[in-house]
Symmetry: C2
Subunit: 197 residues, 2 copies
């Protein structure tokens, strides 16, 4: 399968999906990987609702787009620019295009529940990439609608919607900071090479 | 290297480390993997300080243990029981035992900065496991001391300390919830098998 670094470098956020069906066992595999992540006090505060139903995906998209219209009008200027340059609007076609949505919920109140759920999402993204599946970590800015729509107890809070499928076309990997601007040795600002001596 | 699921299942949280030195290039490798994680608006809000200096590790341990004494006395009863059963006390020997500490900081104020940093930590843990290195995601409940000790600008907030090294002995993997209690199809409570039909 190549190294974890290969997977991490190859994995890019995809916003355009083919609607072709995918093997749900690959999705379950990736969720299984996520469920093996460590969590605060091993409370495993994650829950996953796999959405494959077409009508339900339409409803989810409608709820998200309603929230997005408000978010885009209130976004700070730098973010509006950033979004505009990337053609990101309030429209979230990927929510109906992608054959599968993984709705990731976190159980509020558990120790480090947000951190634990997102660590597990990291596990999941690499596993999806391993299976050749494209993904996006989409975070709607309001989430209460999801509890009602999917019958989810109110202590579980939607953390992300992960559309999964095959990419229509592969975006190129985003630029990254140089490692020397991100990693230091013993003290902020000290080049990490000092640790290698 | 085996599959991502193999890595995820094999990786366990280790609290007892051998003090033997490890290859720092493996640690850098894992951080490089983390730096390839997706982040909110690709802001890459993570920074890493690799600590190998012995005196510094002692200071870090002292700061953490001071905080921990308070935390343990205030913890809710269920957590005291959970901690006690596992022999977890306010003493954090692993902070001086492990040859390397990765101090993970997040830049507060960036979009979804906590989520992004923890997703990247997920990437890092799998990469450490790939390199045969044991790790723990340790989260001190107070963190301001780290900025002063390591010269870190105040907008960066310590998210985790990850001691890395070889395990003194391998703990067995923690129990996990059954997949059918964690994953649903289209609606909360609906067995995921329904998605496979």
């Amino acid at each position: 399968m190549g190294s974890v670094l290969d997977l991490a470098r190859r994995r890019v956020s995809v916003r355009d999906f083919l609607s072709n069906p995918i093997d749900l066992r690959d999705v379950l595999y990736a969720i299984d990987v996520a469920c093996n992540a460590p969590s605060g006090a091993n409370r495993q505060p994650w829950r996953f609702v796999i959405v494959v139903d077409g009508d339900l995906k339409v409803k989810i998209r409608m709820c998200c787009e309603e929230v997005e219209r408000g978010f885009h009008s209130r976004a700070p200027e730098w973010m509006k620019k950033w979004l505009g340059e990337r053609g990101i609007t309030w429209r979230k076609e990927f929510l109906t295009q992608a054959p599968v949505l993984i709705m990731v919920f976190g159980k509020s109140g558990e120790p480090y529940w947000v951190q634990s759920v997102w660590l597990a999402i990291g596990y999941m993204l690499l596993a999806l990439e391993e299976k050749g599946l494209a993904s996006l970590t989409y975070t709607p800015s309001k989430v209460e609608w999801a509890n009602e729509l999917l019958g989810v107890p109110k202590e579980y809070v939607l953390q992300a919607i992960i559309p999964v499928g095959k990419a229509k076309e592969m975006p190129k990997a985003k630029e990254r900071l140089r490692l020397e601007d991100t990693v230091y040795c013993n003290r902020w600002g000290q080049n990490y090479a000092a640790c290698l001596d």
